[in-house]
């Protein structure tokens, strides 16, 4: 193992990702994590945490949940590469005392560090050791606060968005939970919705504007 305090090495992570992809039949390109700088690498605990949090957001039902399709690792990759503006500097005006410890030198926030701290704080200890119902209750409260109209800036909004992106752009989320039709072949302008009809993940206008 290398000298990183987390015990993580780039090679471990890349190898793990590739094995993970193999197990799920996901093309390796979709979970390519090999370019992460050491500074962006999560601790083992953070990796476990984001996987569990993603599953709380999108749980297994009659289709697999977020953990099973590797959404946690996508979020790690996305955060490292600044998707959804997560590596942009955050305006000083919206930095509350609670966020200040997680500010990087470039002005951006370390979303994973924040999430870990926020969840443990809410749990009054180790979030990962709480029962699932308790975890759901705690995360629901954090979500409700962050998503409320007029809420203070919260890193949760971006994390949640990336969890959704990770899930619904996966093969399971995009084509089993929702419908994916690359070549519709026709345009039917007005048809009835049948009970249980699933939305299309391949409705690109809806993805952009919906």
């Amino acid at each position: 193992m290398s000298g990183t305090s987390s015990g993580w090495t780039r090679r471990d992570f890349a190898g793990g990702a590739a094995l993970f992809a193999l197990a799920l039949g996901i093309p390796a390109a979709a979970v390519k994590l090999t370019d992460l700088d050491a500074a962006d690498a999560p601790s083992d605990r953070q990796r476990k945490l984001i996987a569990e949090v993603s599953e709380l957001v999108i749980p297994k039902t009659d289709t697999p949940g977020a953990a099973e399709v590797g959404v946690g690792d996508f979020v790690i990759l996305a955060l490292a590469h600044g998707l959804s503006g997560t590596r942009d500097p955050v305006a000083t005006g919206v930095i509350t005392p609670a966020l200040a410890p997680f500010r990087r030198r470039d002005g951006s926030l370390s979303h994973l560090d924040w999430l870990e701290s926020r969840l443990d704080h809410a749990a009054g200890g180790d979030f990962l050791r709480r029962g699932q119902d308790e975890q759901l209750r705690l995360l629901t409260a954090i979500d409700g606060e962050a998503m409320a109209r007029g809420a203070e800036y919260s890193p949760w909004v971006a994390i949640k968005g990336l969890i959704l992106t990770g899930y619904y752009t996966s093969e399971v989320g995009g084509s089993q939970e929702l419908r994916y039709e690359l070549v519709p072949g026709k345009w039917e302008p007005d048809i009835p919705i049948q009970p249980g009809d699933r939305a299309f993940s391949s409705d690109w206008t809806a993805v952009d504007f919906g």
Binding site: L178, D190, A199, A206
Partner: protein
């Protein structure tokens, strides 16, 4: 290529370059087409066309870190995604300057086919409200042509391109030779009836788009498959591009030579004959400098790049740039002022949906300042484009909730909303202009510098548009939830034009009524640079018609020995 001789050289391979190559070769001319970007072969090189998000490293969203570093401007384009990023320039490799106080996002596609691969495909005729606009209110210089000059060329171009649309009989948006229209969805159809009942002069009609609703077997083009991922490239050839339509036609003549990776640096001017005598370029792969000669030259590099070439072609006899005895070269550039005027939720259609991805929205043609000057603080027009759509999973990013109920909610087809984006006439102003920067690009060529700002007329038009969009939608049973009246940066309409304007007078314009230089008889500029005003319609169809018309004129002049 050393000292090769052609009848014509076409600089650029985008929408107008493709047309110039087609028309000139079909007239029997031996043509060299120069393209600064890489080769992209139809059907073979559309690398991400059929990929699913889960087959992309960043799920189709793309690598923000890479984009910030190398695509800092292009990433702002709505059509720029991980699927399409290889159809846009690398901003780090293709820099340009903005004059202090100017905002201009310049969206570019340097490749064979240019922006014909990534364009929005909307095709609208201009009317005499547009060609007469400069004369009417005194901005800019009078167009030396009118609708009647262009109408037969619109016919010809539409026939070949394949434009689907609906005949509406509007004088401000003349009907064309249309393929069957794509139909409105249920919300758009209802809003059309409701708005028309209250506002007889305001009509929702389907976008007129260069997507085939009927196959063109003679061109090897299938009908639209309703994927709406056009900018990835379309192997069905269902939308008009250089690759799908004009290039195959030009190649069929056996008279076309295409050279890619060829950045044109200057046109060589012969002061004795008063003609362009050669075209110089850099092979961007080898850095070799090359040249070729021809009897005529067509500049189709894209509005600003055509002007750029002329500015870079200054010589002892033409110290301010080639074809610039008037001094107006580079001035009066335009780009439609645009913003999202309204977004509304539309209740009452919860049990209806559609199937397929229609590759066009709707349009509400101009209704201001037609026969009566009724604009408050502006003398020209605006038009809305947009459409009704249903949400999908991305709405969850704004919704509270987690867990099973949340997943179940996102499982469903989302509620209907209606979006109206406004495009307003950009006024031709001398202060909005292109000049040469002292900074060089990585190949040692002086960069282009852009000075651009919208003026009070555009702001007044957008303010009116926001008000009217809300009034129309709210009166039709929709509930407007947001709307803007401040324009996006210059360039964001991706309708940048002007800089080598057409006009009657060689003292105040660069080109004559045939898109031909007043100063240099064998030089034609038939892309967006030639525009004397902007109208509020998408301009590409007009560029195509003007190109076909100019090619016809040039061939006649060659035959008559005039040039």
């Amino acid at each position: 290529m050393e000292n090769l001789q052609f009848d014509a050289i076409v600089v650029g391979s985008g929408i107008t370059g493709g047309w110039a190559a087609k028309q000139l070769t079909e007239a029997g001319l031996k043509v060299l087409m120069l393209e600064r970007g890489r080769k992209i072969e139809h059907q073979v090189d559309y690398e991400n066309e059929t990929k699913a998000p889960w087959e992309m490293p960043f799920r189709g969203v793309g690598d923000t870190e890479l984009y910030n570093r190398e695509y800092s401007v292009q990433m702002l384009n709505r059509h720029f995604t991980e699927f399409t990023q290889d159809h846009f320039v690398n901003d780090a490799d293709q820099p340009y300057q903005k004059t202090k106080g100017s905002d201009f996002d310049w969206f570019r596609s340097y490749q064979l086919g240019g922006r014909s691969l990534t364009w929005g495909r909307q095709c609208y005729r201009w009317s005499d409200y547009d060609f007469g606009a400069n004369k009417r209110d005194g901005f800019g210089t009078d167009w030396p042509i009118r609708y009647a000059d262009l109408a037969p060329w619109y016919d010809m171009v539409e026939d070949f391109v394949g434009v689907s649309g609906s005949h509406e009989g509007l004088p401000q948006l003349p009907d064309g030779k249309f393929l069957p229209p794509m139909e409105l969805n249920c919300v758009e159809a209802a809003l059309r009836e409701r708005i028309l009942a209250k506002y007889p002069d305001r009509l929702i009609t389907i976008g007129r788009t260069a997507n085939l609703t009927e196959a063109r077997p003679e061109q090897g083009r299938a009908h639209c498959q309703y994927r709406s991922i056009c900018a990835r490239g379309c192997s069905y050839g269902a939308y008009f591009s250089t690759q799908s339509a004009t290039l195959p036609a030009a190649k069929k003549t056996g008279l076309l030579t295409v050279v890619t990776d060829a950045q044109v640096t200057k046109l060589e001017y012969d002061a004795q004959t008063r003609r362009v005598s050669a075209v110089h370029w850099i092979d961007t792969k080898t850095s070799e400098r090359k040249r070729a000669s021809s009897r005529i030259v067509f500049l189709n590099a894209g509005a600003f790049n055509s002007v750029h070439v002329l500015l870079n072609s200054a010589s002892e006899t033409m110290p301010n740039g080639l074809a610039n005895s008037s001094g107006v070269l580079g001035t009066h550039i335009m780009d439609h002022a645009n913003t999202m005027a309204a977004m509304a939720v539309v209740p009452g259609f919860e049990d209806r949906t559609s199937f397929g991805n229609r590759p066009t929205g709707i349009v509400i043609p101009r209704f201001r300042n037609l026969d009566k000057l009724d604009g408050d603080g502006f003398t020209r027009g605006y038009s809305f484009q947009g459409g009704a759509l249903q949400g999908t999973w991305t709405r969850g990013k704004r919704m509270p909730g987690i867990g099973e109920d949340f997943k179940e909610e996102l499982h469903k087809i989302g509620p209907w909303s209606m979006v109206l984006v406004v495009f307003a006439d950009s006024m031709p102003r001398a202060s909005n202009r292109l000049t040469l920067s002292k900074r060089l690009d990585p190949r040692g060529v002086p960069q282009l510098e852009i000075a651009f700002a919208h003026g009070k007329e555009e702001l007044a038009a957008l303010a009116d548009a926001k008000k009217e969009a809300a009034a129309m939608l709210n009166s039709a049973g929709a509930h407007v939830v947001m709307g803007f009246d401040q324009p996006g940066h210059g360039g964001t309409a991706i309708h940048e034009m002007g800089g080598a304007r057409m006009g009657w007078d060689p003292k105040t314009s660069v080109l004559n009524r045939w898109s031909q230089s007043h100063d240099v008889a064998n030089l034609f500029v038939t892309d967006g640079a030639q525009m004397s005003s902007s109208a509020c319609q998408n301009p590409s169809l007009t560029y195509m018609a003007l190109t076909a018309r100019a090619c016809d004129a040039a061939v006649k002049m060659l035959k008559e020995g005039v040039i």
